[in-house]
Symmetry: C2
Subunit: 414 residues, 2 copies
């Protein structure tokens, strides 16, 4: 058309193919994008001139015909930063537009929280770029995964456990300002983990899967139709509140939710202590540090440890079967300090086999504790793309509005 939307679509198509399917020739691009070779040549020329693409040698395969000039996305065309913010440490990674992670760094989270942490993150980003000899100004987007509930209208973390005075702070805005106006996005950490698994883990190529993170608490990231789903208020996947594993009517279970009370680190530790039968046992808050001891004990064949893990697996399996009944995912990925342990996986699967006729596939996170970090990189990459190659306003098929006057007019008796 006369405006740019048509060219834009084709540019996006070409970039899309090159990003997902590695180096391609123009002829191949034409076939895949269903464009003429001509148009592809134009598009490629434009993109190469703008620095997005680079020639990457000839196709050396000995097929018939002239060998093709291959093009690929120029990794140097842009940088992104992904950050995984936790209560004890901050992990950051520098990535490029080619999908490579160039460098990572981890620092301890400053206990003062608030603006100090924001400064830490900005410094991390700057330091990573510097260490690679790159200008931090080339960073197109920074994505931050953080625990807490995100208010999607304002972009503000409504409450952020473990990080002092971080709630009600417009982290995205402040962080962006500190880095010279870099586009900054913030997302819940579990959701980011799910996007990490989608990008580089077990979720690759899947349309529908969930990531359940079990650690101090329990949470779930949901991918349906290939996209992250956060629900009407951003609380989708807050499965700690499922009425499973503990009495949902007990007010004591209301703040954190029954399932979290039954599966979180503290619950596992408490269960372990109770099973040990040590007199001093009973529910002691702050037993969380015992979680490693449970796994150690189970490795030694310690009866109470194994029993505690089995009970944990049992409740987890119940929750998974409930999630599967609702969402019917292709895959459930277990992550987090507790959930990702192989020791837990086996009993979870065996309990699931008792619960479901065709048990949903369950796997331990492929990325372990790097899921959040890599997910943040993926989010940053996607956001950068969306910004640079903005899609024209999508026009969906809308069903004609029902003619309310004539909806019941024709109703006839049998």
């Amino acid at each position: 058309m006369a405006d740019q939307s048509s060219r834009l679509l084709n540019v996006r198509a070409v970039m899309d193919q090159l990003q997902t399917s590695g180096p391609l020739s123009r002829a191949e691009l034409a076939r895949r994008c269903r464009l003429s070779k001509q148009t592809v040549s134009e598009v490629v020329a434009q993109l190469e001139a703008a620095g997005w693409l680079r020639a990457t040698g000839e196709s050396v395969i000995g097929g018939a015909g002239r060998s093709a000039a291959l093009y690929e996305v120029d990794p140097a065309s842009g940088l992104v930063v992904g950050v995984d913010l936790g209560g004890t440490k901050i992990r950051a990674a520098l990535g490029d537009f080619g999908g490579a992670v160039l460098r990572e760094q981890t620092v301890a989270t400053d206990p003062r929280g608030g603006h100090v942490v924001i400064d830490q993150i900005a410094e991390l980003a700057r330091g990573l770029a510097q260490a690679e000899g790159l200008d931090v100004g080339r960073v197109a987007c920074l994505a931050l995964g953080s625990p807490g509930a995100l208010d999607r209208r304002t972009g503000v973390m409504a409450f952020a456990p473990n990080i002092p005075s971080f709630g009600d702070l417009d982290v995205a805005a402040e962080l962006g300002a500190r880095l010279g106006g870099v586009t900054t996005v913030v997302e819940n950490d579990v959701n980011v983990s799910a996007l990490g698994e989608q990008w580089a883990g077990h979720g690759r190529g899947l349309q529908d899967f969930v990531v359940i993170a079990v650690g101090t608490g329990i949470g779930m990231g949901i991918v349906v139709g290939g996209e992250l789903r956060t629900g009407a208020t951003g609380a989708a996947g807050e499965i700690g509140y499922m009425p499973i594993g503990a009495d949902p009517f007990d007010p004591a279970n209301r703040a954190k939710g029954p399932l979290e009370m039954a599966t979180g680190g503290e619950a596992l530790a408490r269960r372990y202590v109770a099973l040990q039968g040590t007199a001093a046992a009973g529910p002691v808050a702050g037993d969380r540090h015992l979680v490693p001891a449970v796994f150690d004990g189970a490795a030694r064949g310690d009866w109470p440890a194994i029993a505690a893990l089995h009970d944990e697996a049992r409740v987890l399996a119940l929750a998974i079967s409930a999630v599967a009944a609702v969402l019917d995912p292709e895959l459930v990925v277990l992550g987090g300090g507790i959930g990702a342990r192989e020791e837990l996986l086996r009993p979870v699967r065996s309990v699931l086999a008792q619960l479901m006729a065709r048990p949903v596939e369950v796997r331990a996170s492929a990325l372990g504790d790097r899921a959040g970090l890599l997910g943040a990189v993926a989010v940053a990459l996607r956001t950068a793309q969306e910004q640079l190659f903005a899609a024209p306003a999508p026009i969906g098929i809308t069903v004609p509005a029902p003619d309310l006057d004539r909806l019941s007019a024709g109703r006839l008796p049998v």
Copy 2:
């Protein structure tokens, strides 16, 4: 562009506006679609020539300036048929492209099932068109909502309870063939109900909501991101299998699922009988006919009936809280012979208030037993549209594939 995709987009945009926002002038369309007046004129002329649009008089509003010629979608440009197939009756409706329901008819489901039922449906469609003096050949699409599990790859109902020899039948193909090749789509009845609520009920304008149908069994239709979600294998929303309300480890609860065993019509009746304490009580299969008696009893202030309904509401509320924890919907619509009753709504809400800090909104179906029928009409309309104004292959933003070789290459110690 030189190909048609640009014009196609604009045609879709214009149709979309006209369908959702009633009659509009060309100038107004140009503003809304962000197209030039000329382009809109061309598009409108094309669509009018093709019979999709019709002029619908002048704008009579006494504003300044020349009065505009208004256009609207010509309702006569196409017909659709929606069918709600149940175990006891078949409901069918004839709709037009303007979103009006022209005529409805209901017949008893032939107990012989199978091909006989398919013939019945075809006859219904033909009869409805005939009664309106319209050619059945003008029907662009027929949509059928049916109980049972749909195999989405083949389009075959894998198993269809209540309708003999209906499983493993390619209903869509057979029905289409009987109607001279009409496009035919089949979908699970609960999912269709959800689309009905989205089109003409409480789901209008909502992006995320669910419809829970409680009757003989229990099922849920899920709309996320404005679209129906059916999961990886089409089993999303089969919440009868949630481990709530009955022992999920009891093999007796495995075939139908714990929640269905606890909330289905039979369970309600059984609970009622047990509470009555009549000696002959005990779990008697086929108690389902007692369901109306329960509601009657509750209306009279009958203690066992009220208690049975309260228990039903309690389990339902637990299930709803679990669904809300997973999906965080804007709204939960209760439908079905049991679920849609107002008597149940109040206790469900009050139990939910005990379970959730911010209880999800729960409403009774706006369409009652017509949800499935109207949903089928909506599905038929959408399918017809998609077919007639096929969208160009959507090109999403894909994040560059992770450079797996260099994903961990840059990992550095702290």
